[in-house]
């Protein structure tokens, strides 16, 4: 069992309250996932030519100050950064591959949680309340956010094994369910050059989407392919730079509920996670159909 929540704001006036609106949603799913929690928030975009990376370490303490100094020296690029509890958010005009290569050299214990122009993935072990407080979720601003509370069934409870999982620049995945063919699929994806850090089945689903998107699939095509290639139970929420998507497997054992008003679209495993949202009593509330893709994205100015 796990809990999934997502909130996409249609009304930009609410963006300053995104974290405050979302925190009770995540906390309401504590019963479904008390092991670990995490969220991917979209906002504070960097300009074109720049990327933003969220870093966390598998070791206890990291001297981010020293690491960033060394990184700047090696990369010879502009670099801006700030620390948020155990994570660091790094903004740079260097190439993603170059940053990853230098990071692996300088600090192999530091993991890249997310890369993109907008996304930040923050996650860790513990109760959702602890994770939310650690990263000051309630004060965060942005356009949309998806989160996860984990009750592990398939693999170890670790920071790396918690959700969301990055699936490419500004893309991420959270999952409720379990995949039964993840072992063989992982082997197959490794042959396509996809790297894995955990034994987690969701990381395989994330790697699968990364691979499909790399092969030229649109997000919709990648998710359509996933219905054929992933065996098991799932409700997925997928964060994109401009919005989010929801899809359930054809059997649809894992719950999901959607709500829409003029101000937002919200998604959760259970209605009680939505009950704190303003105007929810007047919202259109419905259960997503099995094997059907739901996607909300704001149009991007050309």
């Amino acid at each position: 069992m796990c809990g999934i929540v997502g909130l996409y704001l249609k009304n930009p006036a609410l963006e300053s309250q995104l974290g405050a609106l979302f925190e009770p949603m995540l906390l309401a799913m504590t019963d479904r996932g008390p092991d670990s929690a995490g969220f991917a928030i979209y906002g504070d975009e960097v300009k074109d030519g720049w990327i933003k990376l969220t870093l966390q370490s598998t070791a206890a303490e990291v001297d981010y100050q020293a690491l960033m100094g060394a990184l700047e020296g090696c990369l010879g690029c502009s670099l801006d950064w700030f620390q948020n509890a155990s994570a660091a958010v790094l903004k740079t005009n260097a190439e993603e591959a170059a940053v990853r290569a230098v990071l692996a050299e300088l600090a192999p214990e530091v993991r890249v949680m997310s890369v993109g122009q907008s996304i930040e993935i923050l996650k860790g072990m513990g109760l959702p309340k602890d994770i939310s407080e650690r990263f000051s979720l309630a004060t965060m601003q942005g356009s949309h956010i998806i989160g996860h509370t984990r009750m592990a069934t398939e693999s170890a409870v670790t920071m790396e094994g918690s959700h969301p999982f990055s699936t490419g620049q500004d893309l991420c995945l959270v999952h409720n369910g379990s995949l039964s063919n993840h072992f063989r699929l992982r082997q197959e994806l490794r042959r396509h050059g996809i790297a894995f850090e955990t034994d987690n089945d969701t990381e395989v689903a994330a790697g699968y989407l990364t691979w499909r998107l790399r092969e030229g699939d649109s997000l919709k095509e990648a998710l359509d392919h996933s219905l054929g290639d992933l065996d098991g139970f799932f409700t997925f929420a997928i964060g994109t730079r401009d919005g989010f998507a929801v899809i359930r497997d054809p059997i649809a054992c894992k719950p999901a509920i959607l709500a829409e008003t003029d101000d937002y679209v919200a998604m959760a495993s259970e209605y009680q996670a939505l009950s704190s949202l303003p105007g929810i009593d007047k919202a259109r509330v419905w259960e997503p159909e099995p094997a059907t893709l739901y996607i909300w994205e704001r149009p991007r100015a050309a």
Partner: protein, 227 residues
């Protein structure tokens, strides 16, 4: 009428209060406010109480009900009225999956849609749905009646025993051993009575009847290769 506000009281408080006075029945009418999608509301009741839940309810609402009349003025989550024995449960909104699962008796009315596996393994309950139902509904239904005023999803009535199914709209597909059957006078009569009891103004002759072909009741050696 007594009101319990779940913004301040816990679900435990509510269910305990409903059970505590069951013997004396001093208070038959109850109202529950700020339900907020909480699970296990008004479960295991065994006396003729009347409960109005003013809002959405979570999982297993009115589960194991006997005699009581529970009305939810909103949507319900998974397994509403699961294993109900008698009484009536009415959902003014829509229900998630496994509505009325394994229920033995009573009447479950869902005015909106019901999700997947509605009436799974039903054992004698009557279920009347105003809207559509999802896939695998009435799977292994053993007894009782399922009435659907809208459409049915995939694999309706798979591995059906003796539940009678009436659908007004389209059926996406029938499950194994479920077939369309002739609508005879006694069926029109029981359907009219069910629709009337559920409070739906529908013409029984617009419905089709589905039931078991009774080919999967016993092991057949011809089917051995399928196992």
């Amino acid at each position: 009428m007594k009101t319990i506000d779940l913004a301040s009281a816990s679900v435990r408080d509510l269910n305990q209060a409903l059970h505590d006075q069951a013997k004396t029945l001093e208070e038959r009418e109850w109202r529950v406010t700020n339900s907020g999608g909480k699970h296990n509301l008004a479960v295991g009741l065994s006396e003729a109480l009347s409960i109005d839940i003013e809002g959405h309810a979570g999982y297993y609402c009115a589960g194991m009900n006997q005699k009581a009349c529970v009305t939810v003025h909103g949507n319900v989550g998974v397994g509403v009225a699961e294993n109900m024995m008698s009484g009536q449960v009415r959902v003014r909104g829509s229900a998630s999956q496994a509505a009325g699962a394994t229920a033995h008796g009573g009447l479950l009315v869902i005015e909106g849609d019901a999700g997947a596996r509605c009436g799974i393994s039903m054992k004698g309950v009557d279920i009347v749905v105003g809207g559509n139902i999802g896939h695998m509904s009435c799977f292994m239904g053993q007894a009782g009646r399922l009435v659907v005023c809208g459409d049915a999803g995939d694999a309706l009535g798979d591995s059906l025993y003796e539940t009678r199914i009436y659908v007004k709209g389209t059926v996406k597909s029938l499950g194994s051993d479920c077939i369309e059957k002739e609508m005879r006078a006694e069926h029109l009569e029981e359907l009219a009575e069910l629709l009337n009891r559920a409070g739906f103004d529908q013409d029984p002759s617009a419905f089709k009847r589905y039931g078991s072909a009774r080919q999967l009741y016993n092991f057949k050696v011809d089917n051995a290769s399928a196992y």
